[in-house]
Amino acid sequence: MKKKKIAPKILWVLSVLTLIFLWAPVILIMVYSFSNNKYGSSWEGFTTKWYVKLITNDQVRDALIRSLIIAGITVVVSTLIGTITAYGLYKFNFKGKQFLRTSILLPIVFPSVVTGSALLVFFTRLVHIPLGYPSIIIAHIVFCSPLAVFIILGRMQRFDWSWEEAALDLGATPFRTFIRVTGPQLLPAIMASAMLIFPWSFDDFVITYFVAGVGSTTLPIYVFSQLRFGATPVINTIGTLFVTITMLGLVLVHFIQKTGKSST
C-alpha cells in the first residue's frame, strides 16, 4: 500500500521541478519588467515605467509594426496555400504524391540556418529579390505554409467526407458545397493553423536574420541586437508581452478547437 502511494509523489516532485526549470527564467523576466532596477536583473520596487518607455521607443515601435505586417501577410497567404494544398493532397492520388509530401516537409525539418542561408544566396545571387519586406515575407511563407498544410490535412483526415457528398447529392454545386458545408466544417482547423502560424512568423529570428538585409529590423532582430548588452528592462517588457500574448492565443485556439469538436 505504502509503495503505491509514494510513486506518484516522487513523480509529482520531479514534474514540478521540471516545470520550475521551464518557467523560472520566464517568470523572472516578467517580474523584473516591473522592477525599478535599471539593469532589469533584480527587484528594486514596483514600477511600470519600462512599459511607458517601450511604447515611446521608436525603434521598438517600428520593429513591432514591421513584424506585425510580415506576420499578418504570412498568416493569410500561408493559410490559403495550406488549405488548398491540404485539399489537393487529401483528395487526389497521383504519382509523386509521397515525394511532394516529403518535399513540403523540408523547410520545417531543415535547420533554420540552412533554409536561411540558402534563401539568402538565392535572393542575392540568383533572382535579386530585394532584401527587406519581399525577401522576409517569401521566406516566412516558405516555412509557414508547410505547417498550415499539415495542420489542416490532419483535420481533413478526421473529416467526414460524406457531408460533402450529401451536399452535392442534395443539389449544391461544388462551389456552394464548399461555402455551405466543407468550409464551415474546416474553419476551426483553418483558424487554428492561422493562430499557430502567427507566432511562428512573428517570433522567427534565424531565417529572418539571414534574409532581412540592412534596415529591416523585426522585433526578434531588435531583441537580438540588444542581447549583447545583457539584461535590459525594455526587453523584459517585450518578453512579458510575448509570453502573455502567446498564452492568450493558446487559450483562444483551445476554445476554437473545442467549439469545432462539439459541432462534429
Binding site: W163, A166, D169, L170, G171, A172, R180, S263, T264
Partner: protein, 375 residues
C-alpha cells in the same frame, strides 16, 4: 411479377454498367430496370459492388462504361447536384452545423425555393417522419434513429424520382432497425417514391422490398420478388446467402416419367420431380430449407403417407441447439458425410422437440420442396 398485365413505368434503368477499381471489377456489366413506386433492394455481402452501383446512380462515382437513365433520360454526364435522385447515406451525413430544419431545407435553398415555401415543405416532411418539435435541434442532440429520419426527410423533401438508400439501417441496433424498417415501409407507401435500397441483411431485404437483386463480385446473380429469391434461389451462392443451409451439388443421372434421379457429389441418390424451367443437363444441385425437413424417430414407424418423390434418409442427431422459438438440429446422414440442418418449431406438436443427441432418426422432405440450382 412478370405475369401482371399493367406494369408501372420504368423510372430507373441501368444499362451494361461497368466500374473498375485498381485490381477489382466492382460492377460488372449490370443491366437492370426499376419501376416506379417499388422498393427495390441490392442485396449482397460487403464488397459485392452494391454500394458502388448506388453511387454510380447518384453520380458520386463515374462508371467506366454503360448508361444510367433516370425517368428515361441518360444522366451519365450529369454531376450529382443535377440528378433527379437523392441519397440517404449509411452514416446519415447530417450537416453538424445546421439544425434539423436547416438540414431538411438544405436542398430547397439550393433550388432557390422561396423561404415561406421552404418552411411549409420542411414542416410537412418533419411531420411525415414524426420529428415534430425537434426542428431546432442539432444533429448531435439526436439519437441514431432520429438522425436517420432527418436524413430521410432531407432527401424526400426534394421529391426525387428515385430515393437511394445506402445501408440506411446498418448503423442502428437491432430493435431500432426493426422499427425503422416498418417506418420506411410506411413512409414509402405514403409518398409513393421509388426506393432503391442497398443492404447486406437478407432479413431486411425480404421484409422491406418489392423486388430484390442479389449481387456478388460485381455481378447480378438473381432478380426477383422476396418469395422467389428465398424459395427458389437459382445458384448455390444465393441459396446459402438466403439461409438455405442444406445445399447439395451433383448432377442428374437419369430421367423418366417426369422424374429425375439426382446423384449428389457424395453419392446419395434422390428422386426429384422434373422442372419445367430448367433443362436436366443444367441442373448442378439442389437446396432444401431447414424448416421444410421433418425428423421422425426411427423406431416410430412412418405415420405419414409417402409419395414417390419424398426423400427419406436415415441418420443420427449430432447436435441440438435450443433457440427458444425453435431448435436447430444437425443430423448426420448414414454412410455419407452429409450433415443436414433442420429447424423444429415449438408449435409442431410431435415428440420431436424432445429429440436429443445420438437419437436415430429419419429425415424426410417432400420432393416439391426441393429447389433446383443451376450454378
Amino acid at each position: 411479377m412478370s405475369g401482371s398485365d399493367k406494369q408501372p413505368a420504368v423510372c430507373l434503368e441501368i444499362r451494361d454498367v461497368v466500374k473498375q477499381f485498381p485490381g477489382v471489377t466492382a460492377v460488372d456489366h449490370i443491366n437492370l430496370e426499376i419501376r416506379e413506386g417499388e422498393i427495390f433492394s441490392f442485396l449482397g455481402p460487403s464488397g459485392c459492388g452494391k454500394s458502388t452501383l448506388l453511387r454510380i446512380v447518384a453520380g458520386l462515382e463515374n462508371q467506366d462504361q454503360g448508361d444510367v437513365l433516370i425517368a428515361g433520360q441518360a444522366v451519365n454526364d450529369l454531376p450529382p447536384y443535377k440528378r433527379d435522385c437523392s441519397t440517404v447515406f449509411q452514416n446519415h451525413a447530417l450537416f453538424p452545423h445546421m439544425t434539423v430544419a436547416g438540414n431538411i431545407g438544405f436542398g430547397l435553398v439550393e433550388r432557390k425555393v422561396p423561404k415561406a415555401e421552404i418552411k411549409k415543405r420542411v414542416q410537412a416532411k418533419v411531420d411525415l417522419v414524426n420529428l415534430g418539435g425537434m426542428e431546432d435541434r442539432y444533429p448531435h442532440q439526436l439519437s441514431g434513429g432520429q438522425m436517420q429520419r432527418v436524413a430521410l426527410a432531407r432527401s424526400l423533401v426534394l421529391e426525387p424520382t428515385v430515393l437511394l438508400l445506402d445501408e440506411p439501417l446498418a448503423a442502428l441496433d437491432r430493435k431500432l432497425r426493426k422499427e425503422m424498417q416498418v417506418e420506411l415501409k410506411r413512409i414509402q407507401r405514403e409518398v409513393g417514391t421509388t426506393f432503391l435500397n442497398v443492404t447486406h441483411d437478407q432479413k431486411e431485404a425480404l421484409s422491406l422490398s418489392d423486388r430484390i437483386a442479389v449481387m456478388k463480385d460485381g455481378v447480378l446473380l438473381q432478380i426477383g420478388t422476396p418469395n422467389q429469391i428465398y424459395e427458389t434461389p437459382r445458384t448455390q451462392f444465393v441459396a446459402s446467402f438466403m439461409g438455405a443451409s442444406n445445399i447439395f451439388g451433383g448432377s442428374v443421372i437419369d430421367s423418366q416419367d417426369g422424374q429425375l434421379t439426382f446423384k449428389t457429389e457424395t453419392g446419395v441418390q434422390v428422386v426429384i420431380p422434373e422442372s419445367k424451367d430448367i433443362p436436366d443437363d443444367q441442373i448442378t444441385g439442389f437446396s432444401v430449407h431447414p424448416e421444410l425437413i421433418d425428423l421422425i424417430q426411427e423406431d416410430a414407424a412412418p405415420e405419414r403417407m409417402c409419395t414417390e418423390t419424398d426423400v427419406m434418409l436415415p441418420g443420427t442427431v449430432k447436435e441440438v441447439f435450443y433457440l427458444g422459438d425453435f431448435s436447430e438440429m444437425s443430423v448426420m446422414i448414414d454412410d455419407t458425410d452429409i450433415i443436414l440442418t433442420v429447424f423444429m418449431t415449438r408449435g409442431w406438436s410431435g415428440p420431436n422437440m424432445k429429440m436429443s443427441q445420438g437419437e436415430r432418426v429419419i429425415a424426410q422432405w417432400s420432393g416439391d420442396n426441393m429447389n433446383l440450382l443451376v450454378g
